[in-house]
Every structure is written in C-alpha cells, then in structure tokens.
C-alpha cells in the first residue's frame, strides 16, 4: 500500500508547513490533577471511557496543551465569537414552508408508538 506523501501538496495551503515558534508558555510539564467526580462527568458528557491509563494520559496531555490559553493576556480584547461578526443575520419571512413530513422523520427512530417517538423516562416529579 502506498502511503500518501503529505509533503507533496496539490493545492496551496495557508497552514504553516513547519512548526512556528510561538510566544506561548510551555505548559507541557504542568501538573494536572483530575478528581474522580470530574472524570465521571467527562465520561458521561463525552461518552468516552477514561478507565485505561492511556486514555487518562491523553486527557491529561490535552489539558496541558490547552493550559496555554490561560496565560495569554486578553485585557481589553473583545472576544471574537465568529468571523462573521459584522455581517447582518439573514432573516426569514414568517411563512410556513416546511413540516408535514411525519412518516419521513418517524422512520429514522428506532422505536415509535402511535405517531410518538418512544424514549426512556425523563424528568418527572419524585412522588409520582
């Protein structure tokens, strides 16, 4: 099998081809402590199993890598949420143009009953 040679680009790219020295502080040695509750929360939110040592090491190194941004001086800098900041949000007239596609949509669901989607029980009062 022939490996793709990534040094041979068929299109120009804006991504630097060599590592660029940055002014960011090196945080790769920062000690990372994660308590078990946080790990459980992350597992639940991400659906990633963090039980193995390797998974935990990857998580720690990711945190170490991202720790850099904590040291950047952002005083008096407005956060940039989108590069489209100065664009005006497109508006739509209040007209019905979609919907009435129940069969299409219900077909995507694993379990349905009499035109309802069926799911595990959700938030209900304690004493019911």
């Amino acid at each position: 099998m022939k490996l793709t040679d990534f040094t041979q680009l068929s299109h120009p790219t804006k991504v630097p081809q060599k590592p660029v020295p940055s002014a960011f502080q090196d945080t790769s040695k920062n000690p990372i402590e994660i308590d078990t509750n946080t790990i459980k929360l992350l597992e639940r939110l991400s659906l990633v199993d963090l039980d193995s040592d390797q998974a935990l090491a990857t998580l720690k190194s990711s945190i170490q890598f991202a720790d850099k941004i904590a040291n950047i001086n952002t005083d008096n800098v407005q956060p940039l949420y989108t590069v489209l900041e100065h664009q005006q949000l497109q508006l739509r007239n209040d007209q019905v143009t979609a919907g009435n596609c129940r069969e299409d949509l219900l077909r995507c669901a694993k379990r349905t009953d009499e035109d309802y989607y069926v799911s595990p029980p959700g938030n209900i009062p304690l004493e019911q």
Binding site: L45, L89, R92, N93
Partner: protein, 514 residues
Amino acid sequence: MGSYMIVRRLATQPKLANAAKRKWKSVVGLEVHAQIASASKLFSGSGTGFGAPLNTAVAYFDASIPGTLPVLNRKCVESGIKTALALGCRVNEVSMFDRKHYFYADLPNGYQITQQRAALANDGLISFPVITPGKKIYYKTVNLLQLQLEQDSGKSLHDEQLKRSLVDLNRAGLPLMELVFGPDLETGEEAASLVKELMLILRRLQTCSCKMEEGALRVDANISIHQEGDPLGVRTEVKNIGSVRSISQAISYEINRQMELVADGGVVTNETRSWDADKRRTIAMRDKEVLQDYRFMPEPNLPPLHVNLKPGSRSTEDLISVAALSEEIPELPEHTRQRLVEHYKLNAETAIILVNEPILLEHFESITKSLPDMPTKVVTNFLINDLLSYCNKLSLDIADCAISANALRDVLKALHSEQINLQAARQLIPLLHTNSAADVSQLITEHNLEQISDLNTIEAYCREAIANQPKTVQQYQKGKSKAIYAIVGEVAKLSAQKANMKVVVECLERLLKK
C-alpha cells in the same frame, strides 16, 4: 402584606418564638416564557398550529436532521422588540445566540438555542396594580432584567406503567420570549398581578395569545425567605404553574412551606419543585438534583443579530428598525386606565377592573359610544356589580359569557329610559346568558319585566303598603325620614319588584305628608 401575616400567624406558635424575633421576608422573582404568536417556528419553516396532529408540525431542522441550519424568523424578532419597547427596555443593537445544553428526549439537538451573553433587550420596568380580594389596590413596580428569544422544546408524555416517555416534537422550535424579572415581589398575589398585567400588555401588542391552558404562557417562580437585614436565602424554583390563580396559590404555598421548614430547624435546599394543582402543593422534582452544567457556547450557525437604533430609521430587508416598530405600539393598559379616569371621570378602582377584564372594557366603550347620554356610573355599576358578579358567582370567566355588547346596550337603554328598573335589568342577565340570541325587548315583554310607572297603579300599591305598615308610617311621620325605605320595600314586594322606585318615593312622600 401576605408574608408579614404568615410570620405573625406562625409567631404565635411557641416553637417559632425565637426565629420570629426579626421579621421574616419572602422574596419572589418570576421567569415568564411567552410563546410568540407567529405562523412559523423560530428557526424553521414549520407551522405552529396548536393541536396539530402528533409530530406533523415538525420540519427536518426541528427534528435535528443533519445538514439543516437555523434561519431566524423576522416576525419573532419584531414581536420581541415590540414587547421590549412596551416594557421600557433598552433594545440592544447587537444580540447573540447561544447553545444551552440539556440531555432530554424532547430536545433532539441536545441543546436549546437561546440568548445568554447578549439578549435582545435588557433593563425594562413594569408597574401594575396589585389586586388582593378584600384589600386596597396598590401599585407595584418590578424590574425586567432581560428579554431574550429562544426555542421551545418538544413535549414528553410519561408512561408510568411501561417506564417510558412518548415524545411529540410539534412544540420543538416554537418561538419563545423569556422575560426574566428581578426578585422584587413579596407575595403570591403580587406575582399573579404582575402576570395578569403582562398578559394584558402582550395581548394588546398581539405578540402572544397568553393562553396559559395551552401552554402559550408559562411561569416559573423563584422563591426564598430571609430575615430582615440578612442576605437573600436559598431559593427554590417552582415550575408547572398552569393558571393565573395557581400562581398566587403555588407561591403562597411555597413561602409557607419554607417558613415552616425553617421554623422546624430545617434548611431550604436549592431545588426545582413542581406545582400540583389538584393537591395544591409543590413537590420536589427528580431532575436538577445536582447543579446542571449547561455548557453554554456561541451558536456557530447564527451570526450576531443587528437592529437599527437610529431615530427616524426605516426597516430594510435584513435590518429591522426599532424606531419604526415603536410607532406600532398601541395604547397600553396603564394608559387606558388613565384615559378612563380623565375622559370618563371614572374612579381609579373602576378603571382598573374594566381594563383587567378586556371584554368589560370593550362593552363599556361600545355602550358609552352608542348611548352618550347614559351616565357612565350606571354603565360601570351594571357591568361590574351585576354582570361581573353574576359571572363570578357561576365561576364563569367573563370572556366565556355569551351576552353580547348589543344585548347589554339594549338592557341599559331600557334601564335608562325607565322602561325597566335595576331589578329587572339584573333578571335579564341570566336570561340572556342562557339564550344569547334573544331580543331584549321581547324578553322584557315575555317575562313581564316592564317597569310600572303609571301613577294610579303606583298610588294603589302605595296605599296598600301604607295600610300594611302602620308602625313604620308612624315612625316616618315622627321625623324618622329613613323609615320611608321600609315602605318603599313593601311597595317593591307588592309590585313584584316592578314599580318605578323614583315614582314610588315621590308618591309616598306626597301621600304621607297629608
């Protein structure tokens, strides 16, 4: 004030003797979700019809089908701005959308698009009359901290037996305005009055149907208690309040529950509770036992929303002018009250009652228009003391009363022209309610309600009454002028309430002077 009364009542119990040394105060803040009246959803082109067949008012976007993107409904922005202006808000030139993450089956995306960092509008104010039965009406002013646009979630039906939820996505993506009010209220009645005023305003603006029974307006209440001088206590949030009446009941119950809990040495925990209207109590909910992490993040699919704040500007295809919308704001309830007081010389309380029951106001305005000679006091007395009380007695919402403004006008016309008296007018209310198509003059003839003004007939009744009440006549002739009303009452009885009382009084005075 309700909270003060609760403290006083509890303070008489020995176990509370210590806790009640300083006055306990209750603090209530409301969050109101109002569904914006629109033909299509906030971000999709699906219809919004209430009661549409299950899962039919759902576009691919509302079901979170990959590849779909949100496109903002212009009318929803306009309605949000109008509401903000009517409530004295500062509309923000730039507002932004965020994702608020929940994991519920009725939220297919796993997040709700809302406005957290920069809302559509902030810093409004609402002043409203507080109506507590048996107490003097007073005005209260509450801060509106924020008004934001957001999506609604779908609806879940909980199937207890089979341990599952049934999900209908018709509501998913419906446009909502969330109004966050400051913790400026103290009692359930104040909260109910705030919501009532808000509903009047939204209905005038036609930005929300305010039908709580359809879920078009939902109220969550944050409630805490603290001792005077202390910082605010830990709050609970009461959800699932389904009617204006439930608002004051649920909040009063929850204030009481916290007072009693603390009095018994307990501690209020930050939790979400649900109002059970049947059992009239709040119950802890399983959810939100731990503080939720909503993982707010900017919605990458929606650039910021810009509006034009320049005075005198006009709206363009993709830029809404706030100034142009401000010209569309109709007369608001408080202005109507002032107008009624100034123009018709009504007293403040009458004006408040009329404005709070839009149908009464409509009747009043149409009746005074067609009968300009009619004293307004007669009209308001009849509408409030007779029509409204009749409906209240039947626990009937005045809006559901079938009597038309035309019928009421005919009744008042007959009353004013002395064709019938007030007794007969009162009798006509139930007759018209059961048979709304009936002709008033026909009803008067049919039920023999016509007033007797004929002098000879009345004189005969008066002579009979005088003969029946010799003692009262003596009292009157000795100078006790009020005694005449007992004789008038006798005439009313003899004439089956049909005698013209003005003529009766004149006639009696004449006869008794002799």
